[in-house]
């Protein structure tokens, strides 16, 4: 029989304090029973002598200093895990939210996860085909990678995420199980519905596990949402040998929840009021992507975040990009020109692509083509800024060719339909069509032999 502690010493935001407590361990879970018979869950976040501070997941409204009884559970926060979770919907704290009852647990997993020994990782090498030219060719997604999408309010990141989820195919199609874990943090109801509907229409909902924390749900639950999702993903990947794609949206809401929680704890803030440990906290989440030596499964992450005021130097995108293996960045100008997906090619990057493309993976010329497209598109920017000063007519012949290349690149290569699924060959041939708009002498990132083989005209 566990001891029940009646009453609280202090209530402050999502935190409550208890006094006279003993025998409790750090990060242990507690249940708070209210007089009206309802139950809430909390976690130990600080201890000093006989005083314990708990964060309450469901929020503290309605709690008073004497209407609760608290029971400590003697274990960290665990969620039940099972392959039955596929097709189910849970709330941010991992409890069923689809009215289908609780999950019969094959095992329980501590949601905090543990740091993977770097020796036990194997380096991700196999690419995931998304059917989106810009991503496949220029920022290839690799199995086991964490590749975030940096977007802004009102841009089409959700559409892109859905398209990736629908079209994502593992390159070698070895028939291994592929599933999606979707974590929504602080998203609006409509957005959550949009994802649900799209997954159903694609006939994919049977292989999706959803964790939904909507924007009016408690913030402490929001802090738990990605942890629950990743614990599930790790279980399916490393114990059930499945390939798991984790889509998490919106990391900005998550970080803001963390800031709110930190400030109610009275911690010294770092940049823009975010806690000093934001980097470590985000890293603990993103680093759970990967491939483990000895397991055939993998966890690939696509976190989505909206950059406040489209500012890429804001702490959330900044710290994220320092941890993740590249980034896919949306460009508001392209988006408003009606180009979908309007990705800023020069700001985007996939760090792992160099080892997962080329001969044996995609096509031998892939890496040279990608480099040449990047370099050429960078020159387009120079030509455009010059044109805006002296007018397009005054440009040199070469610069005019670059202007044309830039336009065609955006209209034909970047732009594609929401259901258009391009093969790798289609994408690369299209790239050669575009590169052939430039004079041969401008193709300085590839050798003569390659140019002779593919250059048109």
């Amino acid at each position: 029989m566990n001891i029940q502690y009646s009453g609280l010493a202090d209530v402050n935001g999502p935190l409550v304090a208890l006094e006279g407590v003993s025998g409790v361990s750090y990060e242990e879970i507690a249940e708070l029973h209210l007089e009206d018979g309802t139950k809430r869950t909390g976690r130990v976040v600080q201890m000093e002598g006989d005083k314990v501070i708990l964060q309450v997941f469901e929020g503290t409204s309605g709690l008073s200093l004497d209407n609760t009884r608290t029971v400590f559970k003697g274990k960290p926060l665990e969620i039940p895990l099972s392959t039955e979770m596929l097709g189910r919907v849970f709330n941010g704290a991992g409890q069923p939210a689809d009215g289908l009852g609780s999950v019969f647990a094959e095992k329980y997993g501590d949601i905090n996860g543990r740091a993977l020994n770097p020796v036990a990782r194997s380096y991700p090498r196999n690419y995931i085909h998304t059917g989106i030219s810009s991503i496949d060719c220029l920022m290839t997604l690799i199995r086991g990678q964490k590749l975030p999408i940096f977007s802004g309010s009102g841009l089409s990141h959700n559409k892109l995420a859905v398209q990736i989820v629908k079209q994502a195919r593992i390159a070698d199609e070895s028939g291994q199980d592929f599933a999606i874990v979707f974590a929504a943090m602080g998203v609006q109801n409509d957005v959550a519905d949009y994802f649900k509907r799209e997954f159903e229409q694609a006939g994919a909902s049977g292989r999706v596990v959803m964790f939904l924390n909507l924007s009016n749900d408690p913030i402490i639950e929001r802090i738990l949402t990605p942890k629950c999702a990743l614990t599930t993903a790790e279980y399916l990947a490393f114990e059930k040998n499945m390939h798991i794609l984790v889509v998490m949206t919106d990391i900005t809401s998550y970080a803001e929840a963390l800031r709110e929680f930190s400030s109610s704890k009275g911690e010294i803030p770092g940049r823009k009021g975010y806690p000093g440990y934001l980097y470590s906290d985000l890293a603990a989440m993103y680093e759970r992507a990967g491939v483990i030596d000895g397991s055939t499964g993998s966890v690939t992450q696509i976190p989505i975040l909206t950059m406040p005021n489209d500012d890429i130097t804001h702490p959330i995108p900044d710290l994220t990009a320092y941890i993740t293996e590249g980034q896919i960045v949306f460009d508001r100008n392209l988006d408003s020109e009606g180009i979908y997906p309007g990705l800023s090619v020069l700001l985007s990057l996939s760090r792992l692509m160099k080892d997962g493309i080329g001969e044996g993976y995609t096509r031998a010329d892939h890496s040279d083509v990608a480099n040449q497209l990047f370099a050429a598109y960078a020159k387009v920017q120079d030509a455009r800024s010059l044109a805006s000063v002296i007018g397009e007519d005054e440009l040199s012949e070469t610069d005019k060719k670059y202007m044309r290349f830039g336009k065609e690149f955006e209209q034909r290569f970047l732009k594609q339909g929401q259901d258009e699924n391009r093969s790798m060959d289609q994408t690369l041939e299209l790239a050669w069509d575009l590169l052939s708009l430039l004079p041969k002498s401008e193709l300085d990132r590839m050798n003569a032999k390659l140019i002779d083989e593919h250059y048109r005209g």
Partner: protein
Amino acid sequence: MKNTIYAINGPVIKIRETKDFAMREMVYVGKKHLIGEVIGVNDKFTTIQVYENTAGLRIGEEVEGSGSPMSVTLGPGIISNIFDGIARPLTDMRKTDGVYVTEGSDIPTIDPERVFDVKVTAKPGDELTAGQIYAQCPETELITNYVMVPPNIAKCRVTSAAPDGKYKAEDTIIKVDVNGDEIPLTLCQKWPIRTPRPVTRRIPIDTPLITGQRVLDSIVPVAKGGTAAIPGGFGTGKTMTQHQIAKWCDADIIVYIGCGERGNEMTQVLEEFGELIDPKSGKHLTDRTVLIANTSNMPVAAREASIYTGITIAEYYRDMGYDIAIMADSTSRWAEALREISGRLEEMPAEEGYPAYLPSRLAEFYERAGNCSVLSGKRGSVTIIGAVSPAGSDFSEPVTQNTKRFVRCFMALDKPLAYARHYPAINWLTSYSDYIPDFERYYEQNVGEDFLAVRQEISNILLEENKLMEIVKLIGSDVLPDDQKLVLETAKVIRVGFLQQNAFHKDDTFVPMSKQLSMMRTILRLYHKSEEALKRGIAVADIIATGQFDKLIKMKYDIPNDKPEMFDEYDRSIDETIGALGK
């Protein structure tokens, strides 16, 4: 009375009213024996930072002192191994504890079971002083481990010595008499990580660390025993640059500290270095590399310690007379770990929440680099190359600015260059190296007498291009006079043909100094010949039409590293085609 935990806040714990602990003492916390270090002592509380995850710890659990400061065991078997921030071997941990890093794991740094082939060089009766060598054993195919008298034994006399043979790390090799006490010495010694190992004296720096990277060796060289910083926003290629230096530089041993970075990067180093062959020795690169991995999801306090663990290991091998290069990736994560711990201690923050002692900690770290005459009488050096990850890519933030004060070589990585996929994205205008005057003699004797002059002229052309680009941005390049157009064309050859380097190309990934000089000479030859042609009234467009400029852009791929004679052919071709214009 037992010392028990009174408060827990993340990685920081407190004990009330005790006088049993010394500042910086290593302690064991709780039932799991988590490793911690005392970071604050006063009459009310003793504060401890714990190097492992504190989840599950209870108030009232016991804390045991170790009686000694946070130390690392040094001995044969460190090279080609991978350790966590407090020097526990991760490969062994995987074998015993599975795929996750486990708390309270107490696997020793030096494998006590591994047998080494030891040659004992000291004889009974020998007088030895601190740092002198009494035995040696092969550690890897490349590195011989010299077993030294620990620096804290100033003087001793050998009373007995074991014969040559096979020994384990903790077997007694010799016994020595220190002021009447007989002490056994093994293959290992312990050293506190926060104390620099003593040397006889520092000696002036005079040799560059050759990395085979053109922009580094020819434009911003770093010294053996020097310090360098590589600052850059995300995606600019800090890690890639560090990997390239670690692979190809001519140090004897590389200590690679992955401090708060990605797990996959450490895996990549493990895999790649295991396959790559060192061009000089023909052995695997892992035979000269030590990895310290505290990935970003591992406990933050151990991140703070990992830098010191790495540099202590480097100093240990320096004392044997080796040249060591340390790659610290990234020092910003280390500074953030300091900030995080400082915040938990509720210390008064200075700039951007960093503690006020950040500059002095950075200085202490970089000052442990140096070219030294070591206690055994040999010469050894430690070079520190630290990556800096400025928040928001803003170089005015505290870590970058303070680092700049303590390093003499600054390799600034540039976002616009990285966007244009110009790699390595080291900006030749904002980067600098203070060491060039120190290398004058080295270049004269080993590279070429004209090296510094050639380098200067190349830099001048790049500088001139930068000025001209201001104009070009406003009015386009067509209106420039021909001599200025020639500068732009030449600068393009330098940028694309010389500064850009392809790490994935078999010849281009490492380029010897002699080829770097030949490339620069050939580019300048083309420039000078073209200038002459301009004076003869030839239009710049006609000079470019000869194709010589495009040819030089590709010479990095077309001329293999082992065929320097091909440059003569290039020179002849330049003389003939450009010389023939207008005749």
